[in-house]
């Protein structure tokens, strides 16, 4: 009797947790309906005019801001993470691996506001005083590049962790066969291991992108938050999550403003869900095929 009650309760809790995502989509959709019904999708997504007080809600600068910052972050993070993951999985002695892995875990645990503080103290002045003068342009330092650098460091742990799992799933016989044929280690990695692990590595990168899309606090603190489409990496940008977080105070006093911000959250959620679902499906396939 007790057993049955416990079982039913647990099932209910599990269902609740699993269905949480649908609940979130529904909640945010209900809140964003007012702005969706008064503005066309084309206007919302392709207009650069963001004037909440006049009822104009063009998300394009924010969408492009998110893409710019994420793009820069990925350009920095992907090569570094792949090299590190390959090193840790294929080259490093066990002792090095045992030391580096916990450090990467610690990096993953650092709160985003601390990354933001560090970005303001180190990255922003570096861009203002060193990078921008080198290109003979003026920049306050609060820029796409600053956001990209900080974001890159924040996604290191995600990409490295997942890539390591994928590389570990490649059976060691495959490597041994290649080494036995006289290939060097790097040749083995390049032609055999990476080829087998490629879908999984791609999934790791996509998970990193999804993480970067949604990162809020650290990016908000270093990216400048100017609602214009950036033209270079030294321009400020205003990514979607920063838009949501920055305007929570005033949004209730302007009609449709809260609705527009909830729509921004809904867009983020849907895009990130799609990325996550796609990469998780790939990872599951990889795991099964290599087993």
């Amino acid at each position: 009797m007790k057993d049955a009650i416990a079982g039913k309760t647990m099932l209910a809790l599990t269902l609740f947790a699993v269905l949480l995502v649908l609940l979130m989509i529904a909640g945010l959709y209900l809140k964003s309906r007012p702005v969706l019904s008064s503005h066309s999708l084309g206007e919302l997504f392709f207009s650069t005019r963001w004037r909440p007080f006049r009822g104009q809600f063009g998300f394009l600068p924010f969408i492009l801001g998110t893409l710019w910052v994420t793009g820069v972050a990925m350009l920095i993070a992907v090569p570094l993470c792949l090299l590190t993951a390959i090193y840790l999985s294929e080259y490093a002695p066990a002792r090095v691996r045992e030391w580096v892995k916990p450090l990467i875990d610690i990096l993953a645990g650092i709160p985003s506001v601390v990354f933001g503080v560090w970005g303001m103290l180190v990255v922003v002045p570096f861009i203002k005083d060193t990078v921008a003068p080198a290109f003979k342009v003026f920049s306050t330092g609060y820029s796409v590049l600053a956001g990209g650098i900080v974001l890159a460091i924040m996604v290191f742990p995600v990409i490295i962790h997942v890539t390591l799992e994928v590389l570990r799933a490649v059976p060691s016989e495959v490597r041994e066969a290649s080494l036995a044929l006289g290939a060097t280690r790097w040749q083995t990695v390049k032609r055999v291991v990476l080829r087998k692990a490629l879908p999984g590595v791609a999934a790791a990168v996509v998970l990193g992108i999804a993480r970067a899309f949604g990162e809020t606090m650290a990016v908000l603190m270093v990216v400048g938050n100017v609602p214009k489409v950036p033209k270079s990496v030294l321009d400020p940008a205003y990514p979607l999550p920063a838009l949501i977080a920055n305007n929570y105070g005033e949004m209730l006093s302007v009609p449709l403003y809260d609705s527009a911000l909830m729509l921004a959250a809904l867009i983020l959620l849907l895009v990130i869900l799609a990325f996550n679902v796609a990469s998780r499906l790939v990872l599951r396939r990889v795991e099964r095929s290599l087993r």
Binding site: I110, M221, L261
Partner: protein
Amino acid sequence: MARDRRFAEERLFRGLMIAATALIVSCLALILLTVLAKGLPFMSLDMVTRTPQGGYYLGKGGGVLNAILGSLYLAGGATLLAILIGLPVALYLNVYARPGGRFVAASRFAFDVLNGVPSIVYGAFGFTLMIFFGLRASLLGGIIAIALLILPMMARSMDEVIRLVPRELLEASYALGATRWETARRVVARQALPGILTAVLIAFGRGIGDAAAVIFTTGFTDAVPGSLLRPAATLPLAIFFQLGVPIPEVQGRAYASALILTVLILAVSLAARLLSRRLTRHVVK
């Protein structure tokens, strides 16, 4: 000739790999050292024992005790709430549900996906929930938002450790006439306890550090939170707000607050590591 090139390439990439690994590790060192160097000069006993006094944000006396306690209450409450949901979920998936079945696989998949949802979205969702229930920005609102945020990672990591409990142990328990509920409670949960506690601590750490989910839901106040229905300060937001004040003294305190937050997080993660190592001694192998 071709042989030389092969080995040159090998050496080149090996060098690049070591450089990349060193760079990533030194990023961590650089961040920790920056926070330490900038925060330490502004550190004082007042910072951790007093709340902001009148004129605090103009550089006058006080500390961030309100935010430290607020963050601990918030993360503590959220962790408790998440355990209440997460632990039964993990037990259900491993003891009650058909092993290897569709439902189990789908649930794990859902948690992995949910774990990728950013905290700002949980914050926005928490905000819509609060409007729906007529709640104002409060400690309770923050606890709910953070609990939802850490639930997927907690449920999933508990699930991973419970999954490692040997099947034979369950069967031995059934053979002695125990029900599934008794087995789940007395055998499985106890066997997986170290892993479960680690999962709890990691989730707690993430709860302390999160800013984006509390910005809508918890509000901010200079007083130590006295009720679930009142707003509460949190360390990440205290850092953020102090940084926004263009007075060097106040910004310095933001760095000191960042140092407090970082030390808190590192302590929690260290505790998680030590605890899991120590408690594994009592586990049937």
